[in-house]
Symmetry: C2
Subunit: 297 residues, 2 copies
């Protein structure tokens, strides 16, 4: 397996998620912390203009623009659609990337702690997530393997794909030390793993780790004018990764009436009351527990 | 004392503070809840355009535009500066207002619970705040009496001034039931008080209540390029209304070094890590405890 030579850490992919933006500054001032003998680490502010405006994005969510067809569709020319093409030139090109691995830093208003989003079934990616979880047992793993060329996330620009580090709860537009430090720790462990991988020093890892797989988004209730008529139920607020049973309270209307979960399967909530998803009136994601297997390398 | 005939409740003065925006919708659908025999209650979305963009403001902070001189300065013609003039026409004019009292609804990312901002030493305003505190003992009172014509807050458009209801912690751009319900309760108690005032049924209130008075804003540390180099210290995060003694940790640098409070007086923090104040790199307000006297009416 080819060694990892070039790693990119990206932050500010969503411009109002300040944690990654400021970790990039920290590492730029302390490059020895992200340097490893066996590879070079680059630090990139992914959406400087949105960050300057303290907005998630100007025209489109940047972290949905990296599908191969979209990167080659020059009719898609909104600000972030162009920026994605520019990042594809900088880190890729996606079909033959210069950069081997991308670690993209995100935050959420949901009470999700540190979550690693795995979008590949490559042993390198899954192994990295398992390695971080060994060192930080409270980490939650999302497992959504997807063909790298079809994946629309920024991390899909890496030759061996990448990993999303998603930490919350934190409001948009500010810094909290706890969130900053958890993100720093998880990211530096990712680099430690790549160094161990390159030098053949990867410790033994479990064959299986528990995780979650996305099932569906649940929309907040609206009236006929498209206005919100309810919010996340107080029982569900901050209860990410807890089971939601059929009949459990899901939403509370502006009037104080409870609306139950009408599904028939017990599932688990994530991204509960994520501010960034209010633009589409999404209240939470439903997830199913999954045993993630470490593939043989 | 002239009776209160017209009351305005305003929300969305900051467009990404959704709690007030949705309480207005709730009361519009349930007008009997804000109706009282002795006065009329109007419901106004103060900055619909900023709310539509999910931003605090487009050009200027709307809640700093109501100083009498500024209202009459037509060279001030940014979006919110014009909107303030329009609201002055709708609710005022400030020198002879149609509306008697304004209740303006705000939220904060800081852990401030329900805070009432008193900007008048009129017995009506102070009495209302004391009345709410009798019913909701956890409420905190800010006491910043200011000449109504000089006050730049929206509430200063009311003939008898008004009251700011400020509730947190909540991120910008989302709803939480706990915050929504506290704001609702406090506001409805304000209306109960005005009804009691009009009908001569105000219950006996304490002569004195503890509160806080603003001393100064403390800026987040910056480097020579104006970039943040530190954030609120984890000991201080979420510790609004707790004492800050000389030498106590105030900030933590991106590198993890602690910067102490260098003042010589023990003061108290408020608006600690308020996202809206990052535009000016303000980390917190320092407050001094004050005994608020209920003036004789």
């Amino acid at each position: 397996m080819a060694a990892i030579k070039h790693v990119a850490i990206t932050g500010g992919t969503h411009g109002n998620e300040l944690t990654g933006v400021h970790l990039l500054k920290y590492w730029r001032n302390n490059p020895e912390i992200v340097c490893r003998d066996s590879f070079v680490t680059e630090l990139h502010l992914a959406n400087p203009k949105a960050n300057g405006c303290n907005r998630r994005y100007l025209d489109q969510d940047l972290n949905r623009q990296f599908n191969w067809d979209d990167l080659n569709n020059h009719e898609l020319c909104g600000y972030e659609q162009n920026r994605a093409k520019s990042l594809n030139t900088l880190l890729g090109p996606k079909d033959e990337p210069r950069v081997d691995f991308v670690i993209d830093l995100h935050t959420t208003t949901a009470n999700m702690g540190t979550t690693l989003v795995i979008k590949s079934d490559d042993p390198l990616v899954v192994g990295m997530a398992f390695y971080v979880k060994e060192k930080m047992p409270d980490v939650t793993l999302f497992y959504e393997p997807e063909d790298r060329m079809r994946d629309n996330f920024l991390i899909s620009l890496g030759r061996k794909h990448g990993l999303v580090v998603e930490v919350g709860p934190i409001p948009q537009g500010l810094l909290r030390w706890d969130i900053y430090d958890q993100t720093r720790q998880a990211t530096e462990l990712c680099l430690d793993f790549l160094q161990a991988f390159n030098t053949g020093d990867v410790p033994s890892l479990p064959d299986i780790q528990p995780g979650f797989q996305f099932v569906e988004k649940v929309h907040l209730p609206e009236n006929e004018r498209g206005e919100l008529t309810a919010m996340v139920h107080p029982n569900l607020q901050d209860a990410d990764y807890q089971p939601i049973h059929p009949g459990d309270p899901l939403f509370m209307t502006l009037n104080g009436d409870t609306l139950p979960y009408e599904g028939t399967e017990t599932l688990f909530g994530a991204f509960i009351n994520e501010a960034a998803y209010y633009d589409r009136h999404v209240g939470l994601s439903l997830m199913r527990p999954v045993d993630i297997q470490l593939p043989k390398s």
